[in-house]
Symmetry: C2
Subunit: 224 residues, 2 copies
């Protein structure tokens, strides 16, 4: 595991794809952890992100009182911990202590970070908005770190042990699997060809296959 310090704006790309974040907090002598999936980047300059938390949550008070919090991104080996952290309240149980998970100190704020995660974002609380029955916590991003096996410019979604975890609802989680890359085809005059029906695609692929075969038989042949 190699932890690297990244640019503040990389925090936005860590939220891309919508992974679960474990929110860690510390207030006076107590600490807490809660999984959050209601989060989004909010602004590039200044670098802001939002986390939406219900007022009944212990983490809600911890964030409000301490005015700082961290996002820790778990991979699959923390799946059970992640689910458990969402089931019990830090008001009743010292979740972080009970879990015996190793922590290390954040670089810019006084909040424990989870050593077994694959990326970390440190925030100081900028503002809060009560929206409906939840509170939007607006955090100013002050430090970002990621494991280079997990994230390099974007989530790599490569080695299964280093993919972030996504929560679908109920007790269903998943990781990103197949990588996709868009291919914008252009017509002869340079216009982007967007629309291709299934029939058109099949026809094109058939032509390409015939051409490929022809050139394999005769490498000197010009493209069709």
């Amino acid at each position: 595991m190699t932890r690297r310090t990244l640019d503040d704006l990389d925090a936005h790309r860590l939220l891309n794809g919508g992974p679960v974040a474990l929110i860690t907090t510390r207030w006076r002598t107590s600490s807490d952890v809660m999984p959050a999936i209601w989060h989004t980047p909010l602004s590039r300059v200044p670098p802001l992100l939002g986390v939406v938390v219900h007022p009944s949550r212990h983490t809600h008070d911890m964030m409000r009182f301490s005015e700082q919090f961290a996002l820790n991104f778990p991979a699959r080996d923390l799946l059970n911990h992640t689910h458990y952290f969402g089931m019990v309240s830090g008001r009743d149980v010292g979740k972080l202590e009970l879990s015996k998970l190793a922590t290390f100190g954040a670089s810019k704020i006084d909040v424990p970070l989870l050593a077994n995660c694959v990326a970390w974002v440190e925030c100081v609380l900028e503002d809060t908005h009560r929206l409906g029955d939840h509170t939007l916590f607006i955090g100013r991003i002050v430090a970002v770190q990621a494991d280079k096996e997990a994230f390099d410019e974007t989530w790599l979604a490569d080695d299964p042990a280093y993919r972030p975890v996504h929560y679908l609802g109920v007790d269903r989680y998943a990781t990103l699997g197949e990588r996709l890359t868009p291919e914008l085809r252009t017509s002869d005059d340079g216009a982007i060809e967007l629309h291709e029906t299934t029939a058109e695609r099949e026809e094109r692929e058939e032509h390409e296959a015939i051409d490929r075969e022809r050139r394999e038989r005769d490498p000197e042949a010009p493209p069709a």
Copy 2:
């Protein structure tokens, strides 16, 4: 494809896992479409969601003037369209017309929905907040539909053609692959056993394997 009408709160679960949403808008005689990944549920009662849009975006004005918008969730066959819709501005190009994608009318608002998507959320604009250099659009969810091949209580992430698309950054996209289910093990006295080191897991798995083998040899043997 079977489109089903869902509960308003299912919109929150459609945002779970962090898929790309294509925001469609209509204002007077013009319509537009833009991919958005900066989105999050905001409240259960009333059912609210937030979409974060830069003021330079044409969609920003379209949402502000029309006070309504829809989220359309594309699967892989709209990958190229999705990427293209993020590259050009609706101010310069009639993206929706150019794409020749089939649309159908929303049920509660006057906005076109993209027929080739796998889920749809209709919103009326409740409020906006300028946060840093972007605007948070707060939408009240008024109608939700999803293809039953794609979503049943949660995203199914089953048939590859019906998985939503996730954007990682640059030109990298991915779909959810492996499904994971947490298993909370309990000790003899019912306490949740959270912490299991690699050595402990290996020891447990070895014991389980030995036990399995023993019982395969002698099916009458009691569990160890």
